[in-house]
């Protein structure tokens, strides 16, 4: 049992890392696209409060462009931690999705604390002997319970909404329900583990066994074994689904919505990239683009006169 459980966890950890790196690379390797920003752009500093941009200045290209990472970080953290956009635009959904996401964040915190506790254990610190070990142990318990309970409430709310809400029903796929039920079972097993082992000692010892490759260790609590198995699988599964939006959001915000980097006239910082994409071959078949099916690049297509193409047809 012990080796199988450990193997599962190791494999799932590897799948998670590989899938996240793959997803990141997939987006990162995409070519430059046309500008498509959407205001407010968070790093516009004071102007961000009303959605303004550097285009509000006469001769904007001659002025020093300031990128305020402070306002960007502030907005990012509000978005990530509190799901600010959902709260503003869909408060009914927020009541369900906020506990769900916060539950997950708490469980990530819980995992970090388990790792901290496991390392303290490796260093010989007694987790129940008062002092630092106890602080970590108590925080672990709080994060574990909070994560499990909030996550379960959120997941139940989201399942009900997906199944019964008029606006969502038609768009709900079997995989959406499966994903939520999958996560719900992890939250519930985590809660069950905590119910019989409030300081999650079994889980901490398991994390310690993962770090020390003690592959024969098996927690005595069956709920903990179930939680470990399912949580491992969830970790591997999430980046393979549309739930990988935690990676993609980086691109939708930084590369699209907030990407207002100008190709400043006179400086042309993107000249090389533009030259590269304009050499891509284009195979669009409409008669105003390529009536004869000849090979051509974007640069060629963009400088052709479609009237002459008509004649050459």
């Amino acid at each position: 049992m012990g080796p199988i459980l450990h193997l599962l966890t190791y494999v799932c950890m590897i799948v998670f890392v590989v899938a996240v790196v793959h997803k990141f690379n997939e987006y990162n390797k995409m070519p430059m696209h046309l500008r498509w920003e959407l205001y407010p752009v968070a790093h516009e500093g004071k102007k961000a409060s009303y959605g303004g941009s550097y285009f509000e200045e006469v001769d904007w290209w001659e002025k020093e462009r300031t990128v305020d990472m402070g306002t960007e970080m502030k907005q990012m953290s509000q978005e990530i931690l509190f799901l600010a956009a959902v709260k503003e635009h869909n408060p009914k959904l927020w009541l369900r999705t906020f506990p769900f996401h916060f539950g997950m964040y708490s469980l990530i915190g819980f995992l970090m604390l388990l790792i901290a506790g496991a390392l303290l254990g490796v260093a010989g610190v007694d987790m129940s002997g008062g002092g630092f070990g106890t602080v970590v142990g108590t925080l672990t318990a709080i994060a574990g319970f909070a994560g499990a309970v909030l996550g379960a409430i959120g997941a139940l709310g989201l399942i009900a909404r997906r199944l019964f809400d008029e606006d969502l029903k038609d768009f709900t796929k079997p995989s959406d329900i499966f994903n939520l039920v999958f996560l719900l079972s992890v939250f519930l097993l985590m809660a069950a583990t905590g119910a019989s082992d409030p300081y999650f000692t079994g889980l901490r010892e398991y994390v310690q066994s993962i770090i020390t490759f003690n592959i024969n260790y098996v927690p005595s609590n069956p709920a903990a074994v179930g939680a470990i198995a399912l949580a491992s699988l969830v970790v591997a599964y999430i980046p393979l689904t549309h739930m990988a939006h935690f990676v993609v959001k980086y691109f939708t915000y930084h590369n699209i919505r907030w990407d207002d980097r100008p190709n400043v006239p006179g400086k042309d910082p993107m000249g090389d990239q533009i030259a590269e994409v304009l050499q891509y071959e284009i195979t669009w078949a409409a008669s105003h683009i390529n009536p004869n099916g000849t090979k051509k690049t974007w640069a060629e297509a963009a400088t052709e006169n479609p009237e002459e193409l008509k004649e050459s047809k």
């Binding site: 696209h33 959407l38 205001y39 959605g51 550097y54 285009f55 284009i282």
Partner: protein
Amino acid sequence: MAKPKDTKLSLNDFGKPCDRLAHMNPENLMPMSRPLDCREPEWSPLKEETKEKYMASLDDTLVLNIPRPQSKREEQELVRKFLSGVEKLFQKNNNWTFLQPLVSTVEHCAKCQTCSDSCHIYESSGKHDMYRPTYRSEIFRRIYQDYIHPSGRYHKTWKNGGEIKLSWLTVARLGELSYRCNICRRCAQSCPIGADNSVVAREIRKVFSQELGIHTVELHDNGSMLQLKVGYSTGMNPEIVKDNIEFIDEDMSEKTGMKLETPWDKKGADILLIHNAGEIMAWPENIGAFTAIFQSAGLNWTMSSEALGYDNINYGLFYDDVQFARVVIKHFQCAQKLGVRKIVFGECGHATKAAMIIADRILTGDLNIPRESCFPLLKQLVEGGSLKLDPSSNNFPVTLHDPCNLVRLMGIVQPQRDVIKKICPKFREMTPHGVNNYCCGGGSGFAIHSGHNFEEWRFKISGRKKLSQILNAFSDCIEPETKKYVCAPCSNCKGQIRDILGHYNLWNDAGITYGGLVELIVNAMTDVKPNYIDWDEII
């Protein structure tokens, strides 16, 4: 409150053969305030011969005019070409322009529907399912995932909740549905993931144009093609344009008492001013006002008389990346020849965004000429004291429409407000405004589409929210005796607002008219004849 039954439409019904898939029942439309707090009339029906000739079974109107296939082979050909186009959208060589925004939206939308309530078209229709921002995207997504994505055939039901029946009708309806979105991107603003359903609408339009050669006559044949052929999308060549502007100079000289003279082709000028040349025919007083302001302020400016150099329109922005690039390159070649220091765009949102933002990653080297919107410059002139102004000339209620392209999509929010606040003592904002504004309903080229009964759709559905905002902004003075002005500093928006005010007879019934920003400035200038905005001329 339960949704009326006739606002519901399942995704699985999209390919269902029937005469009309969705009807926007006038009973369900978003209610309006005084004086439009009454029921809308029924839709004018599409003609029988239209229905025979084109796929006209989406809703109550028609704009794309996709010919009905005449044989099984033609049906299959339509589907084949469509799939081939969709495949190209996901290839970096064919679609580097929008690959990342498209893939992120297709793969990661959570279908949470947070965006639905942000859409004025969805809200105005009485929340009809078909007009949700996500509806067309989901049909597109399922087609992509089922028929293009390598793993599609294995997990149709699991991942997509059911297979979309792919027929010529599904394809043609999806094409038509891509023209029920203003591409205003208000929905994208509310998306927590950063997905953008407007991109999907635009990419579908691109497949139809770039692969199938199907586009609206207004945007393509009479739009970008004509512009590339003769220089301007109404067919006016450089000579005719120069004559017309000369005539405007004379007319507006009389109106202002100034001796107005548009400078042409001045090499090395500080500013090349490019108008939306639609103003020449429709709103000559806007062109005249720019001339009056630039001349009074002593600016070193010019217009170009070269084909395309006098017309900033770029309809490719709405449906075709290649046409977009062709037009923008011509615009900048004109500026390059004159060797101007910078280009300033007149009051036109889509053209300003096209040239400043979208073209920013197309133009390099000598073609990458500095360019800006006219609003910051106007603010500088108004605040800097180079114009003598008396705000009391504008002592009537004024509200400001925020053109999506300039405001939400470029972040030019404050300069036009600063101008208006300085010269219009009775200015009031719409609710909401700035980057949260609603589209006028003419966005993405709709303002120039009126075929069949599409104009009705612009009035009843896409323009409804804006009109409601206008009425609400003037609710304290809605009686026709108080003359009111909607400042719409964008040609497309102005056209839509003109049409919608006219359709509902709101000049006579509520005393509401419209115009640009520069007309208000000239109306407040003390060294020109009074009444540049002439209420008696409004009919």
